[in-house]
Symmetry: C2
Subunit: 348 residues, 2 copies
DNA sequence: CTGTTAGCGCGTTCAG
DNA sequence: CTGAACGCGCTAACAG
């Protein structure tokens, strides 16, 4: 068994030229069926595997894409990445997956490493640090070098394709549902305040708050807890809970939602009767804890798939004009046990 | 700005030969400091990026590794993969990360796709289907073609490096701790019964059960619930709970542990006073739910890092003799709120 | 110190 | 139908 068998060795054995082998293996009609079969047989016998690097060099496309995400500890990114990878695989693309660990510096390095013709395209979601600093020169540069699609955490100042959740609308829906189920004093809690998604969701929340206040005439109150990470999470939450008669919490991120859930349980609040919770999350965990978590599904898989499709489109349309597009995926509100039923409305 | 600038164009502009440019950019002392600087300046001005594919073809190593895992929905694999990737990055290696989705067929395809000289090495964890079918021909083949390290879910019949948790010992510890804290009727629950890890953990559990029964003289009872997935999870669990006075449950996988936790809460069991839980898991979720989950840490990050180190060693020692080794990482029992304190012993 | 040449493994003209 | 020759972009002998 030869392991690094090349096309040349096969040619040698078959007593034909290199190019004949190449053509035969690629089913070129130029080669007679007989020799084609003969050569293939030899190739298999020798355990021949075409060298993908050589192919890439020749064909000018690597058959690989790069994926840069902050991390995959949260189920959103983990599912999204799996969605991208699965779809990419189907299209014959391999995925380099990298993590910025929410660091701008690391993100820069990764972006750099994708500019040396090693991938056909890049899908990326920005780090917290990048978003809070509002820095984008590396992104602009990358965008000039290789087709790219931004997902979820995007930056408006770079002209590339983007696939996101309709975060603004999702923020509105979440609040609306809580109000519909009788909640009046509602906390909007984010531990990722620097991110674009958090900001859009909060904007939607506020917008809807104003609308509802006017249209319903209810005595609504809104509170916000904005954090960058989980330091002092419990304290901040406690403070708001103690000083106000909170009856609902919206948490913009998965871990925040779970932490809120755990905290309320520990403090003995009745969920959802005393306090309702809606989380932004995709995970299986949230449906298995008790009481199960009502959530805004972030459609992670869908977002990943759409991003890949768009990237492929752009890769194929290499030099053509294809106007950059921002695609918004519709959120879904998945009702579970941490919220009340809409008919609660009638009691109010 | 030229984007696909090659070394040749630079040579052209600088009025030197191609090899001079190559040497200059690689800081060869053969080239005078002057021309070196001059050439570098031009390279930067032209936005030159070395073509990594060409380099790979020339140098015979791709600078990439392949990672095959069942999925990254569970925090174990997600953390492990991040551990591998981070370490690989530090060593200048890129990571192709692929998911078998627990399917043998997919795993086969992925293995195949890594045999065409596209990676310098592979780290993989087997799919459930592969393990339950006991199939390993594709693994043997891969192992002959490219350096490989198996992690967590490994197969004894393939002679390659392996990095695992000391699952057997972990199974013993979990049981011992429960007995130490007064539990007597203990369920060993696995939803991944086909995997090697589950089997080792159960073997440890049983071994320790026998030992303890003899040495302590307690009236101990052990039960096992063995599933392949989560179909009928609640029913099976309920049945065992109803028919026996269970006071502890060990769950071998993260989702199983969370599901058990949620189920007991829903049924109104007092945790840990009526029933204790120990889960095998790494996740942040488990420490944020209430009551927080006592768990055997699977040292995911550590396992990933050790696997990468070993792989690099093997890649460098290409043709030398390096005896395949099975490395077992010591588990850690992390005590939280779903188990009682050891001093409970004195009440019994 | 610099240039010429060859070749990594493959695909693709263009002749025969 | 088959083969010789060239080039992808880069590195490394070997000359000069």
């Amino acid at each position: 068994m030869g392991f690094n068998t090349t096309i040349r060795e096969i040619a040698c054995i078959a007593n034909v030229s290199v190019s004949t082998v190449s053509k035969a293996l690629n089913n070129s009609p130029e080669i007679s069926m007989n020799t084609r079969l003969r050569i293939k047989r030899i190739a298999i016998a020798q355990g021949y595997k075409p060298n993908s690097t050589a192919r890439a060099l020749k064909s000018k496309n690597t058959g690989s894409i790069g994926i840069i995400v902050p991390d995959i500890s949260s189920s959103f990114f983990s599912i999204m990445v799996q969605g991208i990878e699965a779809r990419a695989k189907k299209r014959g693309l391999r995925s380099y997956i990298c993590f910025s660990n929410e660091s701008l510096n690391m993100e820069r390095k990764l972006v750099d490493s994708f500019m040396n013709h090693s991938v056909d395209g890049v899908i990326m979601s920005l780090s917290k640090q990048t978003q809070s600093a509002g820095i984008n020169d590396h992104l602009t540069r990358l965008n000039m070098h290789v087709p790219m699609v931004m997902v979820d955490r995007v930056c408006d100042h770079v002209e590339c394709d983007k696939v996101v959740l309709d975060d603004f609308e999702a923020g509105r829906s979440a609040l609306r549902y809580l109000v519909d189920t009788g909640c009046r004093n509602i906390v909007f809690l984010t531990a990722i305040k620097a991110t674009s998604v958090s900001q859009y969701r909060m904007a939607g929340f506020k917008e809807e708050f104003c609308c509802l206040k006017k249209s319903t005439g209810f005595r609504l109150k809104a509170f916000t807890i904005e954090l960058n990470g989980y330091d002092g999470f419990e304290n901040k939450l406690n403070k708001v809970l103690n000083e106000n008669s909170i009856d609902a919490i919206i948490a913009t991120d998965e871990l925040g939602a779970i932490k809120t859930h755990g905290h309320l349980q520990r403090k003995g609040y009745m969920i959802p009767n005393e306090v309702s919770i809606i989380g932004f999350t995709n995970g299986e965990m949230s449906q298995n804890i008790y009481p199960s978590l009502t959530m805004v599904s972030q459609r992670a898989k869908k977002i990943g798939e759409r991003a890949l499709d768009r990237l492929v489109l752009r890769i194929l349309n290499k030099d053509r004009d294809l106007v950059p597009k921002k695609i918004a995926i519709k959120h879904k509100l998945i009702l579970r046990e941490t919220t009340r039923q809409p008919n609660f409305l009638f009691d109010n």
